[in-house]
Subunit: 300 residues, 2 copies
C-alpha cells in the first residue's frame, strides 16, 4: 500500500473512532443522571496519545471507560514472535469501551474496534463486543445478539456464525471451564478491501448503543440486595481473571508500554475472590453458570 | 537418581510441608480469636491431591490460605518449551501460604516452598517469602529481612544477596514500574545435594512464623479508617495484577489443570481499581510508592 493511502486510511479510521466516542459518551451521559464522563487527554513521548474518558460512581454506571488511542511504536521480538511476524514498527488506532453497571440486573458490556498497521504493508481491522450478565434475562441476550447478527449479515452472511464462535472461544476462562458472559462477536486480522471493511466496522460502531441501551432501560429499575451484590462482585473476579490472564489486547497494551491507567480502565471498580463460592443449585445464579459452561446460540 | 531414593526424598519433603502447614495454621488460629482454618482435602483424578486450609473474615486475617499439594502429571509441550526441557512427566510437592490481613497496618505476606521433579532425573527446591505492606514501618521490613538473611547466611553467605535481588525482580510489576512490596527472598532451580538443600528449606519453613508474627503483634491494634481501607484495596489490585500477569507459579498451576480454587486462594478477598488513583505527595501512601519504585536494602 502507498504510504499516502495508508496515512489517509489511518486518519479516517481515527476520525471515525473519535466521533463514535463522542456519540457513545453523550448517550451514556444522558442515561446516567448522576455523573458525567471526564476526559484525560494524554500523549506518549515515543509517539501517539489518546482520549481516556471515564465515569465513576454514577447512578447506573459504577465505572465506565470509553477510550480512543493512536499508538506508534516498535514490536518487541517476543511480541512479534507471538504474532508470527518479523519485529517491525507498528501503528494502531482504536476505540475501546467497557461498562460496569452498579445494578446486578444490568449486564456489563465491552466493545473494541481497532485498525492496526505493521510497517507499511499490512493493515487490518479487529474488534467486537460482548455482554456479561450477572442475572440472565434470555430476552436481553437475544436482543444483543440479534443486533450484532444484523450488522454482520448486511456485510457477509458468513460473518456472524464465525465471529460469534470466535467470541465464545476468546472470552472463555479455560481454567474455570466457563465463558465470561453470553458472548457477542469477535474478529481479528480481517482481510480485504479497506473501503468494504471500514464500512462494516462503521456499522459495528453504530451498533454499540443499539445493542446495549434498550437492555439498560429495561433493567435499570429492578430491585437488588446484598446477595445479588455478592454474586456480582464474585463474577467480576472472573472478569479480572479473563482480562489479565487471557486478553491479548490488554497484554499487548501493557507489553508495548501503553498508558497503564487507560488500558486497565477495563478492570471492574471492585472485585471479590471468596474461596470456593458456589451458588445454590436451581438458583438464578446457578442457572447463569450452567449457560456459561456450555455457550449456546441466541438467534434463530 | 534411583527411583527409590527419589521416592523417599519426595515423601520426606511432603511430610515436612504437611507438618509445617500444621504448625503455621495452629499459630495463626491462636493469633486470630474470631475465626479458625477450615480444611478442604481434595484429590485429582489424574494423580495427586492436597490440603487446602482457609480462614475467612477473621479479626486479624481477612483471608488466609495455607495449602499443601502433591501433583503428578505430564508437562504440556508449551510449558516444557518455556521451561527449556523436553515434555515429560512431572511431580511436585509443596506448601504455599498467603495472608491478607484486615488491618492496613499489618502487612500481607506470601511464602511458598516446593520440591518439583522432572521424570526421574531432575529435582530441585524453589521458594521464598515476601512482605507487602500498605503502610510502611521500616522496622517491620528490617525485621522481616533480617530473619530471612539469617536463615540464608547459616547455609551459604551468597544466598541472601542473590535471593533478595531475585525476589525484588520477580515481584515487580513491569507495567507499573513498581515492586509489589518490600520483598524478601526468592529462589528456584536450586541445585546441589538433597540433604543440604532440604536442611536449608526446613530452616526456611521454620522462619515463616518468626519473620511475620512479631510484626502482626506489633501492628494489630493500630487504628485505621476509610482512607486507609481505600488505599489497601487499591494496592490489593496490584497484588491481583502481579499474580495473574506475572506469577509463574499461578500460571503453571492453572495450565497444568491444578485445582483452581486452591491456586487462586492467593488472590485478595476484595480489590479495587479506581481510575488513576494517586496518593497526596508527602503522604505515608506516597512514601510507600517511592520505596516500591526503587527497591532498597533492609539489612546492614
Amino acid at each position: 500500500m502507498h504510504a499516502q493511502t495508508s496515512q489517509a486510511n489511518r486518519l479516517r479510521a481515527t476520525e471515525f473512532f473519535e466521533e463514535l466516542q463522542d456519540i457513545v459518551c453523550a448517550k451514556l451521559d444522558e442515561l446516567d443522571a448522576n455523573e458525567h464522563f471526564r476526559e484525560d487527554a494524554w500523549s506518549h513521548g515515543d509517539g501517539g496519545g489518546g482520549r481516556t474518558r471515564i465515569l465513576h460512581d454514577g447512578a447506573i454506571f459504577e465505572k465506565a471507560g470509553v477510550n480512543t488511542s493512536v499508538v506508534t511504536g516498535e514490536l518487541s521480538e517476543a511480541l512479534a514472535r507471538r504474532m508470527n511476524v518479523p519485529a517491525q514498527p507498528f501503528h494502531a488506532t482504536g476505540i475501546s469501551l467497557v461498562i460496569h453497571p452498579l445494578s446486578q440486573k444490568v449486564p456489563a458490556v465491552r466493545a473494541n474496534f481497532r485498525y492496526p498497521e505493521l510497517g507499511n504493508n499490512d493493515a487490518w481491522f479487529g474488534g467486537g463486543s460482548d455482554l456479561t450478565p450477572w442475572y440472565l434475562f434470555d430476552e436481553d441476550a437475544r436482543h444483543f445478539h440479534s443486533v450484532w447478527k444484523l450488522a454482520c449479515d448486511r456485510h457477509d452472511p458468513e460473518y456472524y456464525p464465525k465471529f460469534k464462535k470466535w467470541c465464545d472461544e476468546y472470552f472463555f476462562l479455560k481454567h474455570r471451564g466457563e465463558a465470561r458472559g453470553v458472548g457477542g462477536i469477535f474478529f481479528d486480522y480481517l482481510p480485504g478491501d479497506f473501503e468494504i471493511l471500514f464500512s462494516f466496522v462503521r456499522a459495528c460502531g453504530h451498533s454499540i448503543l443499539e445493542s446495549y441501551v434498550p437492555i439498560v432501560e429495561r433493567r435499570r429499575h429492578l430491585p437488588w440486595g446484598d446477595q445479588e451484590r455478592r454474586w456480582q462482585l464474585s463474577r467480576r473476579g472472573r472478569h479480572v481473571e479473563l482480562n489479565l490472564i487471557y486478553d491479548r489486547g490488554t497484554l499487548f497494551g501493557l507489553e508495548t508500554r501503553g498508558r497503564v491507567e487507560s488500558i486497565l480502565v477495563s478492570l471492574p471498580p471492585v472485585a471479590h475472590w471468596d474461596y470456593d463460592f458456589k451458588p445454590d443449585p436451581g438458583s438464578p445464579e446457578d442457572r447463569l453458570l450452567q449457560v456459561l459452561r456450555s455457550p449456546r446460540g441466541w438467534t434463530s
